[in-house]
């Protein structure tokens, strides 16, 4: 069955994300994912760290039973590591074998060694050549150099890549492309133009409690509420700079459950605060606020 037909509308997708992948989100987010699936356009997801951007790709792969191909971006990532590279060793071996066989002409040999057989697949080429539909996750694109965006334009708009020695390779099946960014630098307009856009923010308290209860086994309602309250308080504190995402809230809840705590007393909190705040200055600010509360 054609995958886009498997989801009929936004609410259907919203339900499936929750029931099949434990991904609790709002209708706006589901709408953007739905449109990306139906329109077969890449989806650029921006937002603070730990809010479930990467999770979208994993969930799509899970609910549609597709393979997930991941390209983790980093500074210095080049075309050879993102798209394709020639397999020099195998080309040399082929030349040697060709030299021993008098029936193979030089021209034939030249064409032979620059064929698809000698291409080393990197994530983007792998997604293009995949016979089965797949989910391609281009993670944290803002970490890569702006030049990489230029390499991606052809792929993102046409789902094809051009290799000078071979010509153009078109995608056999168009993959679902999810691009994530932590917004540490602005992405080019040209990249944005080729994608649908989604911004994910911190969830509302009610949604966060729902997520916590789904993700952390054995978490009581009251503890989930407390964790969510603490996360919200920290996010509202302007002095604390590294705000915790949903992932950190889940970490805090898991730590509390592992310690067998029924509630987050100040004593427990001072022990597990490192799971929600990961910056020394933020941590000391939080602990001093706790102490003040204790004193009062």
């Amino acid at each position: 069955m054609d995958i886009p037909k498997k989801v009929s509308n936004v609410d259907d997708l919203l339900g499936r994300l929750a029931s099949e992948a434990d991904y609790i989100t709002d209708r706006s987010t589901a709408a953007a994912i739905f449109l990306s699936i139906k329109m077969q356009k890449p989806l650029l997801v921006e937002g603070p760290p730990g809010c479930g951007k990467t999770e979208i790709a994993k969930c799509l792969s899970k609910i549609f039973g597709l393979s997930l191909i991941r390209l983790q971006c980093y500074e210095g990532l080049d075309y050879g590591h993102a798209v394709y590279e020639w397999d020099y060793q195998r080309q040399l071996l082929e030349i040697r074998l060709g030299q021993q066989d008098p029936s193979v002409s030089r021209n034939e040999l030249k064409h032979q060694i620059y064929s698809e057989e000698f291409l080393l697949e990197r994530p983007i080429l792998k997604a293009i050549r995949s016979k089965e539909k797949s989910v391609l996750l281009i993670d944290e694109i803002d970490r890569a150099d702006p030049e990489l965006e230029g390499f991606l334009f052809e792929f993102l708009s046409e789902f094809q890549i051009s290799i000078p020695e071979l010509g153009t390779i078109k995608a056999q099946t168009i993959p679902y492309v999810i691009i994530t960014s932590n917004n540490s630098r602005d992405l080019s307009d040209a990249l944005k133009r080729r994608c649908l856009y989604l911004h994910i923010d911190y969830p509302s308290q009610q949604r966060e409690i729902e997520i916590l209860k789904r993700k952390v086994k054995g978490l009581s309602d009251s503890l989930a509420m407390e964790v969510s309250d603490i996360a919200r308080t920290i996010r509202e504190d302007e002095v604390i700079l590294r705000k915790p995402g949903t992932a950190e809230s889940i970490d805090l809840a898991s730590t509390a459950v592992t310690l067998g705590a029924d509630s987050l007393s100040n004593e427990i909190l001072s022990l597990v605060a490192g799971s929600i705040l990961k910056d020394q200055e933020d941590l000391s600010r939080f602990l001093s606020t706790l102490k003040e509360k204790n004193a009062n």
Binding site: N9, T29, A32, F34, L35, M39, I95, R193, L198, D201
Partner: protein, 360 residues
């Protein structure tokens, strides 16, 4: 089309392909409420979380007998969508927040001297500046025919080609591309140099695409995308509005603290920090000292452009400048920066400035 037209009028660049996407998206969804409608517009046309936009649906529901509960029919898509405009902010006055030394000092009108708007002058000035800071050699080596023989790479190439490679790999040191973090003071005392700030931000971004632009006063805000997209003249009015919203003096130390903590990953040994400020500061001096030290350690160079240096009788005696000076590599006036006249250097040992007089 009406929506696209309205967005373009509001300053958002919307392409034809994006309009087509929006139409396709709206056709894919049968019943749309306002929440979905907004989500579709954001995903296909607006693509910017920072942009606030308002939607008002044109036809009245009574007339159409249409759906209630915010549902929108397809024939109502000719909605009015406008990008949120900045709310008018009350004018704030430059009050005597600074030290007595600063407030008793006459405020020179630096406007005229910082009004360099000639494209060619800016292009040349920034080109010179880029050349002067893009000299840091990377540990990475670049393959180059005129470079020296790289034995390690030659052996690796040989191994990759099964001992068949007859090539000697030559490499040379790679020169990193210049990258700048520009910090512009937009407190009341700096509002006279707003044209210079907008041009400096715009041309810095144009000359060095990897650069990041921040405005600061009592807090720091990243405005890179506005400097890039609005162009220098529109960015100027943006800064004016922005500066008015701040008020309350300048807290340089606190702002740099926020910069280092929030955007610390932007500061590295390839980055030059350029500060455009008069150095008037009401913040904690200890904090300014420690943050300036941190900046000078983290970054390749720290360049301070001070508009007051244009004045003949100006002496950098205020606490802010005195604290920052030991950590500054170049202390320049706007003219020195753009026109490339004698770049002043700070003698760190003696804490004296060699050049702070008007350029010839």
């Amino acid at each position: 089309m009406q929506i696209t037209f309205n967005l373009r009028k509001s300053g958002k660049e919307v392409g034809v392909s994006e309009s087509i996407d929006a139409v396709s998206a709206l056709n894919l969804i049968d019943i749309i409420d306002l929440e979905l409608f907004k989500a579709i517009l954001n995903a296909t046309l607006i693509k910017d979380n920072a942009a606030r936009f308002e939607i008002s649906v044109k036809p009245s529901e009574e007339k159409l007998g249409g759906p209630s509960n915010d549902l929108i029919r397809r024939d109502q898509f000719a909605s009015i969508v406008t990008l949120g405009a900045e709310s008018p902010i009350e004018e704030t006055k430059l009050t005597n927040l600074y030290s007595p030394l600063e407030t008793t000092q006459t405020q020179p009108d630096a406007r005229d001297r910082t009004m360099v708007t000639n494209r060619k002058v800016w292009q040349d000035g920034l080109r010179r500046f880029v050349q002067s800071i893009a000299t840091l050699e990377s540990h990475r080596k670049m393959q180059e025919t005129s470079g020296s023989v790289n034995i390690r790479r030659t052996i690796r190439m040989d191994a990759r080609r099964a001992g068949e490679s007859a090539l000697l790999v030559r490499t040379s040191e790679r020169i990193n591309k210049a990258k700048v973090v520009l910090l512009c003071d937009v407190s009341g005392s700096m509002m006279r140099a707003v044209t210079f700030i907008s041009n400096l931000a715009y041309w810095t971004k144009r000359s060095m695409p990897k650069s990041e632009i921040f405005l600061f006063s009592t807090r720091i805000t990243r405005v890179t995308k506005y400097a890039d997209k609005l162009g220098s003249s529109r960015f100027e009015s943006f800064i004016s509005r922005f500066g008015k919203g701040y008020g309350g003096g300048t807290r340089i130390g606190q702002c740099f603290d926020q910069l280092i903590r929030r955007y610390g990953n932007m500061l590295d040994k390839k980055t030059t920090t350029v500060i455009f400020s008069d150095g008037w500061d009401i913040g904690e001096i200890d904090l300014l000292d420690s943050k300036m030290r941190e900046l000078s350690v983290k970054c390749h160079k720290v360049v301070w452009i001070n508009p007051l240096l244009e004045e003949v009788d100006y002496l950098p005696e205020s606490m802010g400048i005195q604290t920052a000076l030991p950590y500054i590599d170049s202390f320049l006036s706007p003219s020195e920066f753009i026109l490339g006249t004698s770049a002043s250097n700070v003698n760190k040992d003696k804490l004296e400035i060699e050049v702070y007089l008007n350029p010839p």
